[in-house]
């Protein structure tokens, strides 16, 4: 298992424009960003690559949604400390974030100061 790479922020969103915008913005701010389109790809990444400092996770995706991702995370002890921030337009985001042990949530459309706050908190 490679050592964690805290500087990397993993973005999982099925909308190409959104994940690219978030990734581009973070890279522009000096972070390393990896943008992936679905949960299976994200799980595969986590198994093969160094553990990122932060995951930004969209909720509504197929074939697996945010909840499925969190369940997989919980099964793997190595991933136990991985902070995941929910990325959603849903008004019920705070409840969902709390219920599924997210580190926090970012309401879409994402406001840059909030994005940067999470980025600064969890990655170097």
């Amino acid at each position: 298992v490679p050592p964690p790479s805290k500087r990397v922020i993993l973005i999982v969103d099925d909308d190409h424009d959104v994940r690219e915008a978030v990734a581009d913005t973070l890279i522009e701010e000096g972070y390393e960003a990896v943008a992936l389109a679905d949960v299976p790809a994200a799980l595969a990444y986590l198994r093969q690559q160094p553990l990122p400092g932060l995951v930004l996770l969209d909720w509504n995706m197929t074939p697996m949604n945010g909840l499925h991702f969190m369940a997989e995370i919980a099964k793997e002890p190595a991933w136990s400390g991985l902070p995941v921030v929910l990325l959603t337009a849903d008004a019920k985001a705070p409840d969902k974030a709390q219920a599924a042990a997210f580190a926090g949530y970012l309401k879409k459309p994402v406001r840059l100061p909030e994005l940067f706050r999470f980025a600064a908190q969890y990655s170097q």
Binding site: D17, V18, E20, A21, E29, A89, K92, K108, L112
Partner: protein
Amino acid sequence: VAALHSEPRTRDELRDFVDTAAVGMHWVAADGTILWANPADYEPLGFAASEYVGHNIAEFHADRDVLADILRRLSRGERITDYPARLRCRDGTLKEVTITSSVLFDEQGRFLHTRCLTRMVPTAGDEHHPLGRQRAADALHLFIDNVQDYAMFLLDAGGHIETWNRGAKRIKGYEAGEIIGQHFSIFYTPEDIKASKPQRLLARAAAEMRVEDEGWRVRKDGSRFWANVVITALRDERGELYGFGKVTRDLTARRAMEDQARRLAEERAARSAAEAAEARVRFLADVGAALSASVDYDATLRKVAELVVPRLADWSTVFALDDEGVFRRRAVIVGDPAKAELAREYEQEFSPARHRAGQHLEVARTGKSVLLPVVERSLLESAAQNEEHLRVLDGLGVRSCMMVPLTSRDGVIGVLNLMRSEVGREYGAGDLVLAEEVASRAALAIENARLFREQRQIASELEAALRIRDEFLAIAGHELRTPLAAMLMQIESLQRAAGRTSEGQRLAERLAKAGAAGARLATLVDQLLDVSRIQAGSFSLDPRPMDLVALVRDVASRQSDQTPTVEIRLDADVGELTGLWDRERLDQVLTNLLSNAVKYGQGSPVEISLRRRGGEAVLEVSDRGIGISPAAQQRIFERFERAAASSDYGGIGLGLWIVRQIVEASGGRIEVRSQPGQGSTFIVSVPIGLEEEPARAAP
């Protein structure tokens, strides 16, 4: 005396013959003295020979003038034959006889004596009456005297009362002693007396033998009774009037009974007429009620035909315009279950030819009803299109027929045909009036049903169109929003990157403008999404405890970031105002009001005031800009409405409508105070929704 044989009869033989003769014989002298008589002459009168012979004949004649006439004639030498006369019996009763007589004169012409034969005139019952003549007469007297139910009495020729009976006393109230001798007009009313009715009745009785009258008469005590009166003239043998017999019945009770019976009959007739009228009204009301409940077009047509059976028709049909404008038979209703199959057959059958001809088309064309009280067989034959049609019509039975147009505002929409099958129940004018009243209600209901059907169609089409639009808006809004958000993030990120170098400043400024345009677009998309959510009813609030003062500061500072040149002043009487609200939605309300104030404020400072008033938070946003006219104030909270001309100010007129929806959904209200040219103040009041924390006691 002519004799068969020449031998003279002995004196004794002659005596025997005369004494046993069935005819009365006597001789009367010129002075009237009865010289000789046989027993048949005096015994029937009840006299003995000694009481008769030797007496003057005048003692036995009831009518003096009759006797005088007889004597005068005989003295002149006349022979009288069967001359009617009345003799007085020993008991005072009279006996009718006929007298045949002549006078025996001597050679010198002197009156020796009369040769007189007296025959009794048989009176009814005399010979046959078991009591015998005399006792029959007595019984009759007794009978008349005792009759209670009839007043029976005699008047003299002048109308004076001569006899009285028990019935007369009972009916009229007078005793015999006080009434005999009085004039009978005493029984008449003053009006009748004034009109000479008593005299006229007597005159008529005298002329016609008998007169009958009904009318009011007066009793002794002055009360009146309804009388039936028969007056019979009494004449002697020669026709001389000597009086009147009068029979009076009291019909007061009968008349009262008749009156009552008539009154009862009248009442019954009136009641049955009223019941018939009521039944008509109820029938029409039932028709109205039944039809008003019906909104389905085809069901209404059928119901119209049903309602008239059996009250007004044995069977009925309704023709109505179909979609192609053809009057088509829409319903056939038959009361007789035995004919139901025939009716079904008739209803389902449709021959275009039949529907292009027929009297119903004439009714439809003219709009005038047709009443055929009796449908002759020949008429039916000519009306039928073919043998089959005639068979059906015969089967259903057409004795009498009415065709009534169903007329709406736009003209005739149908024809109601009513038929009766049986002889004796033919239609009349009254039936037609009722049928027309039914038809007018039916036409209204049919028209309503048609309008309802059209309206329902339009409504459902409209509903579908609206649903498609809202679905489109929701999908489009959602689909627009995501790439827009990605684009805005890219722009903002680029702006930050460009701003880091001095060469990039100009680029950063332009990216900021692109971002502002994008933000405006995002706001509009959000509004569209909100509208579709509110329309679809999926708009809901998520209230949580929050501090309104902090939110106001947030929104104000964001606005200041966007429009740094406009001063925003906050005036709050509390440092913190916590309530149960949907933070995002209240943010939206404040953002909208504040951006409006800046937009229409013409650069003037914008003031925000926040107060707690009872259980409410009251937020006011004021500018000193162009203001809003009173007329516009009424409609700015409506959808797609705006106070200012769209050429001067952008926006699609949804902002304030959404604000109002949010405020009202939060249980609050929004109002505006404004004067054109002096600015506007929007006041939002929302309930705090939390129990006020009890004031903490100072330690």
